[in-house]
Amino acid sequence: MNRVFITGNEAVAYGALAAGCNFYAGYPITPSSEIMHLMARELPRRGGVFVQVEDEIAAINALIGASWAGSRAMTATSGPGFSLMQEGLGYAVMTETPLVVVDVMRAGPATGQATKPAQGDLMQARWGRHGDQVLPVLAPSSPQECYDLVIRAFTIAEELRTPVVVLSDEFIGHGREVVELAGEVRIPSRRRPRSAREPPFYSEDPRVPPPMPRLGDGFNVLVTGSTHDGFGYRDTRSFDTHYKLVKRIWDKIWLNRDTIFDYEAVGIDDAIIGFVAYGSTARSVAKSVEILRREGIRAGYIKLKTLWPIDTKPIEVLAERVEAIIVPELSLGQLVFDIERAAKNYTKIYSFNKVGGGEPIYPRELVELARKVLSR
């Protein structure tokens, strides 16, 4: 173990390198650029590929090509660039291409408050593409989790043959904290077909992705973003082919929800008031729960480390116990929809929203809100 004092962005890059990332294509955008700077320094001298491309569209598409050629590929961006990458992400879902996209969120829409932190890209990360699709979304709340979750993102990408999004934010990206770097990380390699008879786009068990041939290995692989059969042949007419394909890709993620979904629950066993949060906001939540407990108020929280697919069971459990759940977000409220869906029949739900100006949600604000809610 190597104990270092680094920013979340640096931790993302170190996590990616530890996970064997050997291809990075990116376009400068604050507050994510430090990830690119570090990859630009490290990849060329480690035998990997770093390329600064003409735009974010080129970045995501270069990742797709590199992944099919056998690379572990990543890019990092922020809101505007993330918007430009959506079509490419949809293609990666449809063709089951493993890759990792890190979005260091800033206040939008549009140019918004360029570089000020926000948590407004949650729904876009989940639903930003057209059509029926689902991809895993992970959310670190500290530089340590940036490191750990980027490694996890590569693991999921390789194991499930899927693009994975990591949602960081400016506070985490530019905040510096102590990180324990792992000595060595072993990421499972994607499964390759043994013969050309194994379909690269079909598997009996939807939970298991089909094997992925590598370009140049002689499989004459047909990769297409159009609806295709098990061997990649386009079928843009039949109901069966389309439904089976998109349903299998959908199920691949949803039926593996148990392994993808990750969260931390603190103090929920005896809590009378609960919080659900993710990312940097979860840090203020943890602090406010500590303060409330010291004051004798039994508070607890759930910190989501996976934002999609989400398992609402732990939230239901929390909801059954507490008098109210507070959902603080650095946005006008997106995660709160999940919490309402899961818990509105059991308890009262309060959204706490704040975004802009580089203002975090302070622990004090949450403590005050919790007191107010409980006194009602």
């Binding site: 291809f23 003409e54 050629a69 990769v223």
Partner: protein, 278 residues
């Protein structure tokens, strides 16, 4: 036993006949490419990767060519090709696409790949319109042509990609029409087997038989005659010459042998290895 056509070893026979319109010149492009490969003694396309975007000519490699192929998003073939080539420089990467795909939505990738002298071959089949979406104006539509989006005749100035790319760092830039079959085939051989490195661009003027020829009331045979008649060799054009809007400048605009992006990147990596981390 019936002798197989030489091109069959490069094609996915089970996908034939193609879905192209009757008389479509895409077949000429497949033929020229096959002939070039045949003449170079290529037995199988293992190690070749074809990347194409969206449009009629993007269907040439996918599904018809028996090789690895990526049929990608509209306009993004060159960007994907870049990822493939950088990730595994041993692969021979060929992009085939139309004027809508490469000169309109994908033009920035095309120009930047040329700027980098990226080691790929791009064959742009210029059919002068958006064929697949039913004949709208494209950036290469000649002025005066009636299309579905210029029903009174196109009035916009078109783009000449060969002149644009000549000014970049591309190693090879050529244009032929489908009436120049042998020159086209030789250009493909030159790009793939002689030059072998850097950005190599070959444009094929292949007017859409459905949305250009039929609208003009022309038969494919008369199109071929017109193409030959209107072609002007690039080496015969002198500075200051005015070129009529009906003329198609053909020939080899540029042929150089500078190191491509891959070699430059490898040199750069070697330099990086000499530097200790900060």
């Amino acid at each position: 036993m019936k002798k197989r056509h030489f091109s069959q070893k490069y094609l996915r026979i089970e996908t034939l006949p193609t879905l192209f319109c009757p008389g479509c010149f895409n077949g000429v492009v497949i033929n020229a490419l096959s002939k070039a490969l045949e003449e170079e003694g290529v037995a199988s396309l293992r190690g070749y990767v074809f990347v194409s975007g969206i449009g009629c000519s993007s269907w040439i490699p996918s599904p018809y060519i028996l090789a690895d192929s990526l049929h990608v998003l509209h306009g993004r073939a060159v960007a994907v090709a870049m990822g493939v080539k950088l990730a595994n420089p041993k692969l021979e990467v060929i992009v085939i696409g139309g004027d809508g795909d490469l000169a309109s939505i994908g033009i920035s990738h095309l120009i930047h790949a040329a700027r980098r002298n990226l080691d790929i071959v791009v064959i742009m089949v210029n059919n002068l319109v958006y064929g697949m979406t039913r004949g709208q104006q494209s950036p290469t539509t000649p002025r005066g042509l009636e299309t579905t989006t210029t029903p009174y005749g196109s009035f916009e100035y078109p783009i000449d990609m060969c002149r644009v790319l000549r000014e970049t760092n591309a190693n090879y830039v050529a244009r032929w029409t489908i009436a120049h079959f042998f020159q086209l085939k030789d250009s493909i051989r030159e790009a793939l087997f002689r030059l072998r490195r850097g950005f190599r661009y070959i444009e094929v003027v292949a007017p859409c038989t459905t949305y250009v020829a039929r609208r003009l009331g022309l038969k494919p045979s008369s199109i071929l005659r017109d193409l030959l008649k209107n072609s002007k060799r690039v080496e015969e054009i002198r500075r200051g010459d005015t070129i009529g809007e009906d003329s198609i400048v053909v020939g080899i605009f540029k042929s150089e042998d500078k190191p491509g992006y891959i070699e430059l990147y490898q040199d750069y990596s070697m330099r990086a290895r000499g530097v200790q981390s900060g």
